[in-house]
Structures are given as C-alpha cells and as structure tokens.
C-alpha cells in the first residue's frame, strides 16, 4: 500500500513541467490574474497570530488547491485548521471558491467576480479575508468549534496593471446561512511591483527579478446587523513579498501589523506554492480523452 502511494506521488510530480510560478505577493488581496487554464497549484500556508494581553497565541495552517478551469475561470478548494497555544488543534473546515473574469481583454480596471461557499466553524483563524468584526481571538477552540457556519462569501475584485505596478481592491460581503448575523462586510487593498523590470539571461534564484514586493491593507467594516463600525473591527497593514524559488515554486511572506484593539498586534503569514502545468489535460488523457 505504501509503495502504491509513493508511485502515485511520483506520477503526480512527473506531470509537472516548468511553468511560470511567480505569484502575486498578496495573501489576502486578489488581483485579476487568473490561474492558467489546466494548471493546478498546491499551496500550503499558515497564519500565525502574536497575541495581545487576553488573547491566545495561535497558528492556523491551511492548504489550497487552485485550478485554472479556463482563462477566465479559476476554482479553489481550501482545507483549514487552527492550533491554539495551551488549548488544542482542530480541523476548522473547508471552502470552495470560484473566480470569474467577465472581460476578455485587459482594461484600466479589470473586474473579477468571486463566489465562495464556506463550511467552517468559529475556531477558523486563517483570516484569508476579514469581514464583520473579524475572528474571535479570546475564546478556546473547544468553545468555538461547536459553532458551525455555512457561509456564502462574495467579492468584487477590481485590479489594474499600471506599467509595472499592480493595484487591487477587493470589496467583500458575507452571509452566514446558519445564523442571522446580517450581511458582513470587509475590504482588502494592495499595491505591488516586481523588484526588477528586465530578466537576466542566467538562471539565478536570488536575483531581484524573482522577487515581487508590495503592501496590503485589509479589515472588517461591520455588518447590516451591527452597523458600519470600522473602528470596532480588525484591520491590518502588511508589507508582503513573494520569491520565485524555482520555475514551479513560490514562497510568500507577510507581516501584518494590527491597527485596532480587535486585531492581533502582529499577524505573520507564510505560504509555499507549487504549480503543476497542464495538469488537467494530462489527467484527462490518462482516462482516454483524445489528443
């Protein structure tokens, strides 16, 4: 059984051929750049919250599988967990998101429509977005994991490439289908730029062309139930950087600084993604699809 599993992993990695892995450095903010059609990207990430007094230290690891269905449609599955210091580690749920880019060409502002279904419990702390008042950072996993939520999340993503800069804004509205919390709102905003404009002829790994740096800001805006209360919610400002470690892999780092009492003072995020090019077509051929 172990040998078969190993062979499957070998098979999966044999599907990989070099492809551009340089990703946007943003962790929370989405741009209009979609996954290339047929490519599958694995990403493993973690959100680590440094606590204020009364809060608990936590790490929230999660995994993403992102697939480019077409040039205009990307789907993504998340599996997430949460580990709280002195408490416990729990599986906190899954999310399935779809992004659709309605315009076929590049414009000054490129809109993308985003729809996500979440089946998560209240112990979720990955904070891929912050809406409403943000996550509960005080209660224990034991108390929170029993509160399960089915949520629908929508985003309007607006993104522009201006010369070598990317400027993106996300407007978030989330409806908890399990409880009457009204509609919760949030935002994310980011600016990024590659460190080098020209590519060198050599296959260097540490040269500046492999790095993109930026800054993003995100937070909650309250809800229809509690009103527009940006001062009473979590907000972060975060310098971000991505590094194309190889042709297939990207490392992403972010240090978020909390701007309100509802935020962690520091939110560290790290993610490693690996892209398998042409995954969809190769798998379909394995099952007999014609060339």
């Amino acid at each position: 059984m172990r040998a078969n599993g190993f062979q499957f992993v070998l098979l999966a990695f044999s599907l990989a051929i070099p492809c551009a892995a340089q990703e946007s450095p943003f962790v929370v903010t989405y741009t209009h750049h979609m996954e290339e059609p047929g490519n599958l990207e694995f990403e493993t990430s973690s959100t680590v919250g440094i606590p204020r007094s009364g809060q608990r230290f936590y790490a929230a690891p999660y995994m993403e599988l992102e697939y480019g269905v077409t040039t205009q449609w990307t789907s993504e599955l998340y599996l997430e967990s949460s580990s709280v210091w002195g408490d416990s580690t729990v599986f906190t749920g899954w999310r399935f998101e779809n992004r659709y880019k309605p315009l076929r060409r590049e414009h000054w502002i490129n809109p993308v429509l985003y729809l996500e279904y979440e089946s998560v419990n209240e112990a979720s702390r990955i904070q891929k977005e912050i809406e409403g008042g943000g996550p509960d950072l005080i209660c224990s996993n034991r108390e929170l994991r029993g509160e399960h939520a089915h949520e629908l999340e929508t985003k309007l993503i607006l993104s522009s490439d201006f010369h070598d800069w990317n400027i993106s804004e996300n407007f978030i509205a989330t409806k908890n289908l399990s409880e009457s919390e009204g509609v919760e709102f949030g935002y994310a905003f980011g600016v990024s730029r590659p460190l080098a404009r020209l590519a060198s002829g050599s296959n260097c790994r540490f040269c500046s062309e492999n790095f993109i740096a930026g800054i993003e800001m995100y937070g909650g805006l309250g809800s229809t139930l509690d009103g527009f209360t940006p001062r009473g919610t979590a907000h972060y400002i975060a310098p971000v950087v991505s590094w194309a470690v190889s042709d297939n892999a990207t490392l992403r780092l972010s240090t978020g600084f909390g701007l309100t009492d509802q935020s962690n003072p520091v939110l560290l995020r790290v993610g490693y993604s690996y892209e398998l090019a042409g995954f969809g077509s190769r798998i379909s051929r394995l099952f007999g699809a014609k060339r």
Binding site: A20, Q22, S24, H33, D161, R197, L198, G201, S281
Partner: protein, 139 residues
Amino acid sequence: MKVLCTAMLIFVSSLSAAGQNPSYQQDPQWIAPAAASGKPNPLTNKPETAAGGRKLFLRNCAECHGPNGVGMEKKHSADLQLPVVQQQSDGALFWKITNGNASKGMPSFSRLPELQRWQLILFLRTLKATGPAAADPAK
C-alpha cells in the same frame, strides 16, 4: 502494479514532448488595434536582452508553444516561426502577449513587467532569424 505505474510514468512523460502546429491559422477576431501595433520595442537597441527573453519564453510560453516555438497541434497554439506570426509588428505581438486570447485559451501575461514582455518579443524574432536551433535549450 509496479509495471503498470512505470508504464504510466513513461506515457505521461512522453506527452509533454508531443506535437507541433505547422497548420496554425491566425484567429481573424484577434487583431491588435492600430495604436498598439505601432508601438516600437524599447529594447531594439539592446539585443543582448533577448537572452532574458529566451528564459522567460521557456518559463511562460514553452508549455503551449514548445521550447522551439513551433506550437502544439493538440493545444491549438501558434507556430511562432510561421510568417503569419513573424510578419506582425512588435507592437501587435506585445498587445497579444498582454491581452491574451481568452476564447482560444491563450492567457494574458500582463502580470509580467512591460520590459519583460518586450524581451519575449526580442526572443521571438530570433526564432525567425535562425530557426529552431536558436531556441534549443541545449545550445
């Protein structure tokens, strides 16, 4: 079981080497606007930057167009050595790389810095000048 898996590995690996597309025909709907076509390549006087273009091509384009740029029939991707491609202006190619052609599966590469897109075009011109050997990664 081991034999089966080994056979599958060889089969899958061989798929990436398959095909070229000499019968490529341009999408008549995919035409760069005149203003975009007239843009000059700012790197024309820096031919040495084509080496970086080759690296970008292998990272971003070879998956569909092949390492020699001859295209792949199964992916309906363009043979970049054909006159129908090479006769287009630098500006038109820049516009096509930037916007992609969503209806035919060509993604947009606007995420690449502008100069890197121009580097790609410098490299595409070497495909015309010296044929497939110019793009041979072994050389």
